[in-house]
């Protein structure tokens, strides 16, 4: 190989090493923000107590232990998992639709979840056989899944053109929002309050069952997303190019939308609609680390986890003693970060 090529090969290896270092850094930040999240809350259970409690060093009092294990830990874990799930879904969506505006929120999936929740909260309509305390989650899951199935069938019926898909997503967004508004109009004072609170998104409904379920979904879906990294990158080279490389785009899109629907639907079922993470996580990751999907996907997931975790901390600390719905906070703390990255025009690593 020529000296030029050799120099470039070495420079490229440095880029790769830097990206790996970035991923490790993101993972460390998410661990730290998770710990801070554990140590934040209205009761006097500080960071060190929480860490000692989790690592089982030293003794916590009965009430402290209960707060840690029944409230703080499930909430903090759920924050991390929701961040991983929504940001991965957003990253995949942006790639398969070739549209930087695509996210579960902008394509109507979260509006559908809200409508499912609204049916349960306002009209008491749920899926038969589902226990009362799961009815809202189950409805949200089913409706966000329906929304993605609609997007899927658009792909099947009208070919894999992305413009139509994005337009249909926007149509879904408006339709479900109108339906939510209709149920709000019909709702009683009390149901209305509950619904509005649900739509804002909150971690206060966390439980170990939800943590376990979402963990299973994330652990299954993320490796499959990672395995599709090369075909996804080929798709970024243009649809004709990818097809001429022998890639079955319809199948790639279908499998990707399947992962997106399960990740989004499960996350939203448990915490309500949280819009910003799915859009901003991938954008921030792309600005930091570039578009090589081997690094871009995990970086998006970790960025999402960090955003959610920090948002959880903020939601507990902005007004002491008040838990602000996390959906509001993600947008408020995410936006400044997002804009500063866009305007500083940081080159890709």
């Amino acid at each position: 190989m020529s000296a030029d090529s050799q120099a470039i090969a070495e420079a490229y290896q440095r880029v790769i090493r830097r990206r790996v270092a970035f991923l490790i850094l993101l993972a460390l930040i998410s661990v730290v923000s998770f710990a801070v999240d554990l140590g934040t809350g209205p009761s006097s259970l500080g960071l060190m107590d929480a860490v000692r409690g989790v690592l089982n060093i030293g003794k916590l009092s009965g009430p402290q232990s209960a707060i840690l294990w029944e409230v703080r830990l499930p909430q903090a874990l759920l924050a991390i998992l929701v961040g991983l799930a929504l940001a991965t879904a957003g990253a995949e969506m942006q790639t398969i639709l070739g549209n930087p505006l695509a996210s579960p929120f902008t394509l109507g999936v979260s509006s559908a979840a809200s409508f499912g929740a609204a049916l349960a909260i306002v009209l008491g309509i749920g899926i038969p056989g589902v226990p009362q305390n799961w009815i809202i989650s189950a409805n949200a899951f089913v409706f966000s899944f329906i929304a993605v199935i609609v997007l899927q069938s658009v792909v099947r019926l009208r070919g894999s053109g992305t413009d139509i898909l994005v337009l249909c997503g926007i149509a879904l967004f408006f339709t479900f929002n109108a339906l939510v508004a209709l149920t709000q109009f019909l709702a009683s004072q009390q149901a209305l309050q509950q619904l509005v609170f649900w739509i804002m998104g909150s971690l206060s409904r966390a439980s170990w069952e939800k943590v376990r379920l979402l963990a299973v979904v994330v652990v299954i879906a993320l490796p499959f997303a990672q395995r599709a990294a090369w075909p996804m990158m080929a798709l970024r080279l243009g649809e004709d190019r990818a097809r001429s490389l022998g890639i079955n785009i319809a199948q790639l899109r279908f499998m990707s939308l399947l992962r997106i629907s399960i990740l989004t639907a499960t996350a939203m079922a448990f915490v309500g609609t949280i819009g910003f993470v799915g859009l901003a996580g991938p954008h921030i990751a792309r600005l930091l680390i570039g578009e090589d999907h081997r690094f871009f996907l995990p970086a998006s997931a970790l960025t999402g986890a960090i955003i959610m975790s920090l948002a959880s901390v903020a939601s507990k600390s902005i007004i002491p003693g008040v838990l602000i719905p996390i959906g509001i906070v993600t947008a408020l703390i995410g936006l400044p970060v997002f804009f500063s990255l866009i305007f500083s025009r940081r080159g890709t690593v």
Partner: protein, 261 residues
């Protein structure tokens, strides 16, 4: 017939109900040569190229050597053929090197396993052959039109295809880069690759192609060596212009487009 000849018989292809090509047959396109597809806008040049690449629904018969291109699986096709599209994606932050590596790794054409370093080195070798190794780490977004076209050609050449399909490979290039690209394409052809290129510029087609296929309204008008295919009659029949063609003593062809016929 050699193992790298492309034959096209009674080919019909198009988008939905609109058939752009109807019952098109043409003489075999030989391996080791550059064949230029020329003709006015809408003549079906790109559709023909896309049909061969398997990107447009088509019926009839397209064979590359022993490979039946219309019934072959997409991955079988992709091992033999590489396609360079006319339109390149916008807003893409992959670097040139990454784009070339992914064009190779997304569906490796070779059977033997390669490790990451081997993929990288093959990609770098291709970029070096095109003289753009210095652009390797530039994001695609930041390239000029000509540089993007070179990077796109690299994505096709990296697969070392036996059939290379180029849709207007030089449309965004200045004269120097045109020369550079066509020289590289010529080298690929001398290595045995069958090259089919849609070219708008008749003068360039006459200069670079070993043979020329002239298309008009979805059908074959004529084909042959440049000196035979390009004539004043052809200019008037196919393009609707009054022009003249002269062949110099050195064998160069000069086309003078006169006025609208």
């Amino acid at each position: 017939m050699s193992a790298s000849d492309l034959t096209i018989r009674s080919l019909s292809a198009g988008y939905g109900a609109r058939k752009v090509l109807r019952d098109l047959s043409m003489p075999p396109i030989p391996g080791g040569k550059i064949t230029a597809l020329v003709g006015p806008n809408g003549a079906g040049k790109t559709t023909l190229l896309r049909a061969v690449a398997g990107l447009v629904p088509a019926s009839g018969d397209i064979r590359f050597g022993a490979l039946d291109m219309l019934t072959a699986s997409a991955s079988e096709r992709s091992r033999a053929m590489a396609f360079m599209p006319q339109f390149l994606p916008q807003r893409m932050a992959l670097s040139v090197l990454e784009s070339v590596i992914s064009a190779l790794r997304a569906s490796p054409p070779q059977i033997e396993r390669m490790d990451a370093a081997a993929f990288r080195d093959v990609a770098l070798e291709t970029l070096s052959g095109l003289g753009i190794v210095d652009l390797a780490l530039q994001p695609f977004d930041k390239l000029s039109g000509g540089q993007r076209q070179l990077a796109s050609l690299a994505q096709a050449l990296v697969r070392k295809p036996r059939l290379l399909l180029l849709d207007e490979p030089t449309s965004a290039l200045d004269l120097r880069h045109q020369l550079q690209v066509m020289n590289i394409v010529k080298t690929a052809a001398r290595g045995g690759t069958a090259v089919i290129a849609v070219l708008h510029d008749l003068q360039a087609a006459a200069r670079w192609a070993d043979s020329i296929v002239v298309m008009k309204s979805g059908a074959l008008y004529t084909s042959g060596a440049p000196a035979d295919a390009i004539s004043a009659t052809m200019l008037s029949d196919v393009y609707g212009i009054d022009g003249s063609v002269e062949t110099t003593s050195s064998g160069d062809i000069h086309i003078h487009a006169g006025r609208l016929a």
